[in-house]
Symmetry: C2
Subunit: 234 residues, 2 copies
Amino acid sequence: MTSDHDTPARPAGLPPYAIARQGRRARYDAASVHAILDAGLVAHVGFVADGRPMVIPMAYGRDGDTLFIHGATTTRIIRGVAEDVAEDVAKDVQVCLTVTLIDGIVAARSAFHHSVNYRSVVVHGAARHVTDPAEHDHALRVITEHLLPGRWDEVRPMLAKERKATGVLAVRIAAASAKIRTGGPVDDDADYALPVWAGVLPVTTAIGRPIDDGRVAEDTPPPPSLAAARRKFA
Amino acid sequence: MTSDHDTPARPAGLPPYAIARQGRRARYDAASVHAILDAGLVAHVGFVADGRPMVIPMAYGRDGDTLFIHGATTTRIIRGVAEDVAEDVAKDVQVCLTVTLIDGIVAARSAFHHSVNYRSVVVHGAARHVTDPAEHDHALRVITEHLLPGRWDEVRPMLAKERKATGVLAVRIAAASAKIRTGGPVDDDADYALPVWAGVLPVTTAIGRPIDDGRVAEDTPPPPSLAAARRKFA
């Protein structure tokens, strides 16, 4: 897993998925990018705070070319954006949102050719503080249903105080690249003669059977969202 | 999964694991931090490039309070550090290295209390370009054996040209915080009366049975590193 995932950031306003540099294993079409974003559990969101890099894991959801992320209003990224809001004029904050799925450990005949099978997407964009109530609700639905499809309508509706306590950022994808590595090791020709085992250790992520919290009424069946999540992330 | 993981970065030179802010669910002891770092498959490494945040997934390994990461010498982070090297005086580059393990999807009775069970570590430190040959070899061993314990001595030794092609960065941990969420949803008292299923969908990462690449001699048994990896990441 060498990281030639460093597509130069492109300014907002250009078409998403533009090819900045054709890296090894790189893909830039929307379908590849969206498929990986939709299959991820969490995103690693990077931003610059006081000139230093910060990367935090965050729940997220996608709606078209917009990603929504949320956090307690006290967190730095939300606070940083909110503090820049003056008279309803939101100042955007540049973020990098990366989603990675690990599929295998690739054992080669030399240390040099060891690798990791993975699918990853790096998104660059400006994070906008969501203040419109309808968009705020929509974003929270999208984030909730990313992990549990259909969950929003199964639960008690949001309260005003809960909305207020939940900061939401919208990131329109300004540039994105996907990278996918599959298959076995690629060894040097001469090394295939060595008596060294080589191949792949598959890595799988699985959703187990739901465990209720012990306070669910006996006649309450597991809702469709649980099965939907198990299908989605299988 | 709200992200109060935003421990303020601390300048290098202070003791690692210092408590900057006692966040919810936060832990700062070395044992908690090391355990999560050792259990992760990849790290998400953030740095600032041209004033913008960049987050890329990278293989890594830990030796005490030092993390090693590597990549093709053409990647931006390595290039950025290497270009600052003049007459063996390396200029360090600030990075944020985050490792996250997802353990469950937490379904609550309200959208607001939905969460994710996870273990994560955020490390801040300065990335130093490793130029000493012995340290370079040691770092590559540490990175290789993070995923496949014992693998280094099973494979063909590194060649000079391979060493040259592999940039290595050492990040001494200047500050680190761990966050762990476990258990079921924590709902509002009134919501427990609702006829809504609530609980946890476990998320597990598993290492499957090794698949050889079809070019392994028949009398070559799977080496101990494979079993060690399956034990380590079970």
